[in-house]
Amino acid sequence: MRNPRKQSIHIITIMIVTAVFVYTVYWALSSWTEAIYLNLHPLVLPFYFVASALMFLIILDDHVISGIASKIGIVLAHSFLTRILAMILFYPGTLGDPFNHLMISRTWYNTGIHYFNFSPYTVPEISTVIGKIYVYQRAAVQHGLTVVLSRMFNIDVYWVHHCLVGTLWSLFLPIVAFKTARTIGVSNRVSLLAAVLMANAPILIGWSFIEVPNSLGFIFFAVTIYFSAKLLTSDAKRKYGFLAFSASIVSLLSHNMTGFVAISMLLLALSLTRYDDIRKNGTKRKGLFVLLLGLATSIMVLPATTIGLQVVYPIKSNLSVSKFLNLGIDKIILTHYSGYSFLQGIMYGIPSFLAIIGIALKQKGSKGKMAKIFLALAFTSLVAQYRIFLYFVDPSPFGEHRLLVLFPFAIAPLAAITIDRLFEWLTLPTTTKSSYHIRKSARENPSKRTNKSNLTIRQGLATLLIGISLSAFFAQGTLATWEEIGQRVVPIISVYSMEAAELIHEEYLRTGERYVVVSDKHTELAGGALVGRYNPNEYYMLSMGTHPNRQLYTQAIQDISVEPMFIAAKVNNATTAYLVTAKWSARVYLGPRADYESIVNDLSKFYETFAVLGSGDGQIHILRFRIPWEPYEGTGPTVTVLMDSQEIPRNTSYTYLTRDKVTYTLNLTGASTYNITNWPLAWSYESIDPTPTKASIDANTWINFTASPDTSYTVKWIANEIYPNVIWKDDSFFEGAVGEGWYYYWARCNYTFKTDGDILEVTWEGNPKDNVMYDKQLPHLNGSLSLLVRIAVREGTTCYIELWDDRITRTKVFFSYGIETQGEYQTKLYSLPEDSTFSRIRLYLVTPDGSLCAIYLDYVMFIQI
């Protein structure tokens, strides 16, 4: 029969713990907002700290709860609490790889086929059978498990993916750690401490809820360590050998890095068993040789497979001494710790430090000795592998710091031994006489302890000291991880992006129209996660690697253009293209000066506004554009043509896909001279085809050319019919005196300024930062105006356009900032300040490094909105 007093204390404690845990979750839920940044309620961390402190007090002290099952239950609950908090705070997920893998799982779930089969691009990686197998096996466990569980539970792939790592980590890692510690023959308290340490070590807490294959690999790596330790301590060697091998294969199919390290750990354990067998037969030296050989093999497994990877996949890593020689002395000695802050160094380094002490501490009896040696050698092997990668593997196919994350899985029980020994030392009575023997006897026989009341106070204080220190350590580690993730640029996927993807998907289900989406990074990931990667009917353009989404998106919002939609639509022959813009993306992609409101306003002239979602930095505009695969054609305005001095009004014809680029065409034949005038101001002359024998052009007013009467000539103009109200333009760029044409204002370089009556070409070179300025007077323009410029700027050239008001004093009223077009003609639209008058336009051209620079200017227009 259990003591009723003890039982009531037990129940009250459980109730208090439950209340604190529930309140911690409650405060985390209160923290959550729809913002894309981490928002932490000030009470989350104190409550988490108290929850952790309570757990440690229960682990360290047997007076409150003595049953091991209850203690394990509380450790598991705390483990879940840690993951639940992170998942709430970062809901609906963090930017980057987790959503990339969700996209892949979604494709598997929806189609049962690898996403590469839908790729619109050539995939050289899967051209060979080996390469194909390699590609397919990557993260196969994560995708396989997510898809199977999703089908079993009939729960959306998103939720299974989102909860998988956190649940497996919270449930299995504390138990695996507990059992691993038990293999080295330590007490329940040490095992429980090891369980907490392995599940929540600061260096790996970030991996414990991020849904990536690496995290799953870590879990099965820990399982491999446990089964390998059991292999050394149990009589059922075949069974545990088989289980360790199976766990390492699962780890390998989760993530190759963790898998190969897991295999190396199994090899190490096998060499230890061999060593043990040989040693028992009396040939110690031979046993030692086998052990060293096993250790060396285990150290070299990962580097060797990494370098061998180039046989099957286009990743080329080599062993290189030059990498080592290029490292600073601080990096060589302190490794990644040289880049950490003091606090990070303490947080990440303490478990290893405690483990080294734990290895040195003597243990009672020989039970578990081999497992302890195994864990110590595993630690050594991991350190060696990490250093080999850091020093010699160039380039490393993964961040070397990921190997540091493996340490706690091997060392948690060893570090727990040290913490426990420290606790024991603090709880035992101090005495001047033969302290060693008294402690030893007290440890072996607690009933012989003297001065009982003092002991209780000491024990209480020691429990508080160790418990509070440990909870502070883990709370700080958790906070640091949250903050580290939270400090990334736009770290949390926007819920509005998720909603936008849903809306577009619903529209597809309603209409069945094949679509393509060019979007900000959040929507790209949210959309892909909903419809799968490379879905041919619902295609989200991607940004990773050489995929062009970011480039197209930036072009669309920077140049206020629909051209990227045509490029995107060609990928899957879409009839509808969506441009999903997020407020944060204007600042992040275009710089702090970008004005999101005016960008969206300008875009709405080209696109239909489908939906506007949310507010703040995460606000989303869904803009839709119907792709006109066949051009619109018709008869355009009449222009005046003098054919051999006879005036004949002639109709033009037009053709366009989008109204921002309408081509007007005039066909002429039967005369030997032509003079064309009176075309609309919004038109910009482009070409005469075939090239006439003699031509004289002022693209602002007339086109004269001599021709062969038998030949048919086509004269072309282009116009942006979105902005037909042109109030002033220059399309010819002739030089002249002040008030008549473009004039030299200032130059400190060698330059040329020449025009063919249509295109202005300016070239210049000199010393770095040399510049040239050309100005032209304007007829004091004001009102609600925009500046439309068609320009090609050579790469490496700095070009600005300025507008000045010269009426009273010379005042600069507009500055374009650097214009970049990568050598291609692009049309740039600038909204101008409404309360200003524009008296003068200036081209301000700079050579950044003194080399030859050039711009080609087709037209500048002032348009009334």
């Binding site: 189609t111 096996q137 466990v141 396989g144 569980l149 539970f153 299995f172 059922a236």
Partner: protein, 131 residues
């Protein structure tokens, strides 16, 4: 005590009743996945499936553990089997024209149950792993 009793009853699997229940759960999962789409039904069936298979796995590999740990490690191994099975289908689809769809998933789940049940009944595993 209840858990121990349940563990013992399932692991005994008299007349293969629990194997049949697990297989019926698999069929239920297939039906739910293709026709009903009820998450509650799916959760209940999956819990049934994993409970039975976890007890089988625990009984095959971890007889020397106490029932709680035996069940947890049984569950871990069951999940590992599902993971390896899923991964195998994925890798196999690189070589042969096989789809990772609902019928394949159901076949995998059924195969796992049949294999575990056979190992549990025939004691092959114990003989195989006897040192």
């Amino acid at each position: 005590m209840v858990l121990e009793k349940l563990d013992e009853t399932i692991s005994m699997d008299r007349k293969g009743i629990f194997t049949i229940i697990a297989l019926l759960a698999t069929i239920g999962i297939y039906t739910n996945s293709t026709r009903l789409s009820l998450p509650f039904f799916g959760v209940v069936l999956s819990i049934t499936y994993f409970t039975i298979n976890s007890v089988f796995t625990g009984n095959i590999f971890f007889r020397d553990e106490n029932p709680n740990f035996r069940f947890v490690f049984g569950l871990l191994l069951s999940l590992m089997l599902v993971a390896i099975g899923g991964a195998t289908i994925i890798v196999a689809s690189a070589l042969i024209p096989i789809k990772f769809d609902t019928p394949t998933t159901t076949a995998l789940l059924a195969l796992i149950t049949v294999t575990l049940s056979s190992l549990n009944h025939t004691k092959i595993a114990r003989k195989l792993f006897k040192d």
